[in-house]
Amino acid sequence: MSDESAPPAPWHETLLKVLKANQVRLITYVPDRVLTPLIGAVHADGFFTVISPPREEEAVGIVAGAWMGGVRGVVLMQTSGFATLPNVLASLAVPYQIPVLMVVSERGTLGEFNIGQAMVCRTMRPVLESLGIENHTITRLDELEFIADRTIQQALLTRAPAALILSPLLTGGKTVRK
């Protein structure tokens, strides 16, 4: 089989590889259906320490503390989870210059079936923009590694939080159709 005919690695394998390559050892999450394969993979991989606190805000606190202690971490969440974070981002991560990494599975767009999710989604980018937080929406597999890797590096080097938004175009998202 030639390289061209081999199917590309799924998004979660590439993302896991990028996290490892950047020594991001602490994974925290509040679950999301789309993130399931990534969550399963980090649990199965001894490289990572995985913690699942009941609130995203708590996860940001844990990751912030770990970074100050010398361990890099990330918070995995859904759009609605991000909507609970403006206070901690504005009063901890941004002013203290702590590179909290966030991976957000995007619900609420491109075929959303729940109007609540659609409304919540509309709050996400204005919050990120108003706080000046670097964020990128990843739509393509062939751009995933570059965007994720460079965003993580920039966050760490500039001591600033950053968000990677995983579009349904990348992950398939969640729809009513089975």
Binding site: P54, G61, G65, L92, Y96
Partner: protein, 204 residues
């Protein structure tokens, strides 16, 4: 441990102490580079007033996150003892973190709750602890078995010493009065963070 040492005590039977005094007593017992995270407002003000150790972190916002931040530090540096100090109003806002810490079984972590039964800094409005919620009972219910009320100042010191010597996670709750803090923390977050990381021996 004796039966009395294991007994959680009750909020009603705990002596009402003073936060400035307890913060000084706590800091006086630190000799091993322990990291201390002070929660929002008065809690970190009195930590600041007790001596500006480089291993101290002062929270200027993010109400309720002193213990999660302490857990993160404790995870990153398992050889170091870490203490999170939080007010009752603050811990009530983030009770889930007690379960996270219990589930993680974080041995090098101690939580200290300064319970004045009120949101003192915003005007002294009553919190739920003034109306029957017992933080030690909540913590034990969340899985933190080594949780207890400090009966008085001497007992507080004994419990701190034990928490710094033996495996946790520990939770020590102290009833405190409504006296104001002894000073106010300098509000320079980037400097606080930078100094804290230097204190922890981490290059930022």
């Amino acid at each position: 441990m004796s039966a009395t040492e294991l007994s959680p005590g009750t909020r009603d039977s705990a002596k009402v102490m003073n936060r400035t005094d307890l913060s000084k007593r706590l800091v006086a017992r630190l000799h091993g580079g322990e990291a201390v995270i002070g929660g929002i407002g008065n809690t970190n003000f009195d930590l600041w007033a007790a001596g500006q150790r480089p291993e101290n972190f002062y929270m200027l916002g993010s109400m309720g996150l002193a213990c999660p931040i302490a857990l993160g530090v404790a995870l990153a540096q398992p050889q170091r003892r870490v203490i999170g100090i939080e007010g009752d109003g603050s811990i009530l806002m983030q009770l889930g973190c007690l379960g996270t810490i219990a589930a993680q079984g974080q041995k090098n972590l101690t939580i200290v709750i300064m319970d004045n039964g009120s949101y003192q800094i915003t005007g002294g409005q009553a919190t739920l602890t003034a109306r029957g919620t017992d933080i030690v009972a909540v913590a034990r219910g969340a899985g933190l078995e080594k949780s207890a009320w400090a009966a008085d100042e001497k007992d507080f010191e004994t419990r701190i010493d034990r928490a710094l010597a033996a495996d946790g996670p520990w939770l020590i709750a102290a009833r405190i009065d409504d006296k104001p803090p002894a000073a106010e923390t300098e509000r320079n977050p980037a400097r606080i963070r930078d100094r804290f990381m230097q204190g922890l021996g981490v290059k930022s």
